[in-house]
């Protein structure tokens, strides 16, 4: 059972008159098998929240814990290793390496992790996501929805404890947005992952297990 905890996390940028509080005293907890939505308007602090959860930034105050170990005290190198092994990122754009085919995106992960997963595992994953026919295609030959599905598959390929998704549906129409979020929810439930989706798309609220809202750096949980 994995968990991700924000314990009184505050993030402040700048000093003096240019001081800006991006996150204020955030308490947050996520457990395996949950799809969690973090919603809020632009500039509310959603992405700051996501990057702190992914170890890309450290909080000014408070602790971020993964499976009860504090990640903000890790060195940059350790944080990079943590991201490679425990976290899967799904981003709005630039998700895929442009000069690698879909198949090579997965082989690249193998090389990075010095693992040699069987082709069967890769094919199973791609088959589950309906991507098998895209194996030899480059990202610029895929539609927006296909790119996001490949990005999700790649994020899952390393079997991370949790997946952080930043506006994964921003470039998609309603139908495709729903499909992607359904896919993420199924993955959270069936594969027992923590999936945190940061979005300003309120249409997705009903699909999540928990919904948090950030406004002006303050986080509240919304009743469903």
């Amino acid at each position: 059972m994995s968990n991700l905890i924000f314990d009184s996390v505050t993030k402040i940028f700048g000093e003096g008159s240019s001081k800006y509080v991006a996150l204020e005293n955030i308490n947050f907890e996520a457990e395996s098998g949950q799809l969690i939505l973090v919603i809020g308007p632009s500039g509310s602090g959603k992405t700051t929240f996501l990057t702190i959860a992914g170890g890309l930034q450290t909080p000014t105050n408070g602790d971020v814990k993964i499976n009860d170990s504090t990640i903000n005290s890790l060195s940059k190198k350790q944080q990079t290793k943590l991201r490679l092994e425990k976290i899967g990122f799904v981003l709005q754009s630039y998700n895929l390496v442009p000069f690698l085919t879909v198949e090579e995106q997965f082989k690249f992960v193998d090389k990075l992790k010095n693992q040699n997963l069987t082709e069967q595992k890769m094919h199973e994953l791609l088959s589950d996501l309906g991507l098998l026919e895209l194996l030899k295609k480059y990202p610029n030959q895929l539609s927006g929805g296909q790119k996001q599905r490949v990005a999700i598959a790649r994020a899952l390929y390393t079997d991370p404890d949790y997946i952080l998704a930043d506006e994964p549906t921003a470039a998609l129409d309603t139908d495709r947005s729903m499909k992607v979020i359904e896919l993420l929810r199924d993955l959270a439930h069936k594969r027992n992952k923590i999936i945190i989706v940061v979005t300003h798309d309120l249409r997705l609220k009903d699909m999540a297990d928990k919904v948090y809202q950030i406004i002006d750096g303050k986080m509240t949980i919304l009743e469903k």
């Binding site: 992405t47 990057t51 890309l56 990079t80 290793k81 943590l82 899967g88 390496v97 690249f108």
Partner: protein, 348 residues
């Protein structure tokens, strides 16, 4: 290096253009180095063949053989294991009209220099107005038994043998005996060459001992010529450095968003840096190999009058130099890679 290779294979045109630039500059570098070596050899090949350590000349000669005249007393007070050199520059002609500017160098047939001379054809005989001549004469049509008619003189030198790598100050050498040169320069001794370096106490007043290296550097025009070539070669190395830096910098800036996302996904900076260094290394190796092959072909096809020598040591030094410059050129883009903050890419 999976990422580096895949990127190069996918972006063939971009990387081929950089390889083409490295090749062009490397090719120019190899040709210039070859010419520098060839011209240097033309000046000093004969001296290298002597396999000597030092030379004693008149102290007022500024290290120039032609300007040095040693008195009989000075020569006599030097150790007798040296080779006395008497030199005379002139035009020689064959009986059938072939002409050649040459350096006549007179030495004793028992001297260590003469004993060291190699013969490619004929015999090693300089008695009775005979001469062992540079094989440049052979390639210009002279044959064993031909007579060299010395300009402004009645002296006739019979060619008895050809010797390789015998050029001095860019002119082919004709080795003759001291008796033969007597009629041209009254048998004056210009210098005495030694296998070893003499103790200063053995150097008579009015003379100066130079190492063979210093003596070569003082050959007329030699240092100026080599400095000019070295300047051009050095400048080309800098051009390679700049070209690689600019191209890799532009390529890196273009892919910064991707690099940021890769970092966010757990790809270490070290991996991305090594990837860029590897690309730079591969491009320079390919560029250098093509340049070497084409340089060798050029050297073979150029007319023999062009003094180009592309030898192994030149190729190794030039190749390593270009590869080092290429790796140094990758340092600026590497700095960009190290500075990419994934948060800024994701956070916008």
């Amino acid at each position: 290096m999976f990422l580096a290779i895949k990127e190069m294979l996918h972006e063939k045109l971009r990387y081929s253009l950089i390889v083409a630039l490295i090749f062009l500059v490397s090719y120019l570098l190899i040709i210039l180095t070859g010419l520098a070596t060839g011209l240097a050899n033309l000046n000093k090949a004969a001296i290298n063949e002597w396999d000597a350590s030092s030379i004693v000349l008149n102290s007022d000669s500024e290290g120039r053989l032609q300007q040095s005249f040693l008195s009989q007393d000075e020569v006599a007070s030097l150790p007798n294991n040296g080779t006395r050199i008497s030199q005379y520059s002139t035009l020689v002609k064959s009986e059938n009209g072939l002409k050649e500017n040459a350096q006549l160098v007179a030495l004793d047939s028992k001297s260590f220099i003469f004993k060291k001379l190699k013969i490619t054809s004929g015999s090693k005989n300089i008695r009775n107005n005979a001469g062992v001549v540079s094989d440049k004469f052979k390639s210009d049509g002279f044959k064993i038994g031909d007579y060299l008619l010395v300009a402004n003189s009645s002296l006739r030198i019979k060619i008895t043998g050809f010797t390789p790598r015998a050029t001095l100050s860019a002119l082919p050498v004709v080795y003759i005996s001291p008796d033969t040169i007597q009629s041209l320069n009254k048998g004056v001794t210009n210098a005495v060459v030694f296998k070893n370096t003499l103790n200063n106490s053995k150097i008579p007043k009015g003379t100066n001992q130079l190492s063979i290296g210093s003596f070569i550097n003082k050959l007329p025009g030699y240092s100026a010529q080599q400095l000019t070539f070295n300047f051009m070669i050095g400048f080309l190395y800098i051009i390679i450095l700049i070209v690689i830096s600019i191209f890799l910098y532009i390529l890196t800036v273009q892919k910064l968003p991707n690099l940021g996302v890769l970092k966010a996904q757990g790809v270490s900076t070290q991996y991305l840096v090594l990837s860029t260094l590897f690309q730079s290394f591969i491009m320079s190796v390919i560029g250098v190999i093509i340049a070497i092959i084409l340089g060798e072909i050029t050297a073979i096809t150029l007319p023999s009058e062009v003094p180009i020598v592309i030898d192994k040591s030149n190729i190794i030094v030039t190749g390593i130099g270009i590869i080092i410059m290429s790796l140094l050129g990758a340092l600026i883009p590497i700095r960009q890679i190290a500075k990419v903050d994934p948060y800024k890419i994701i956070g916008g």
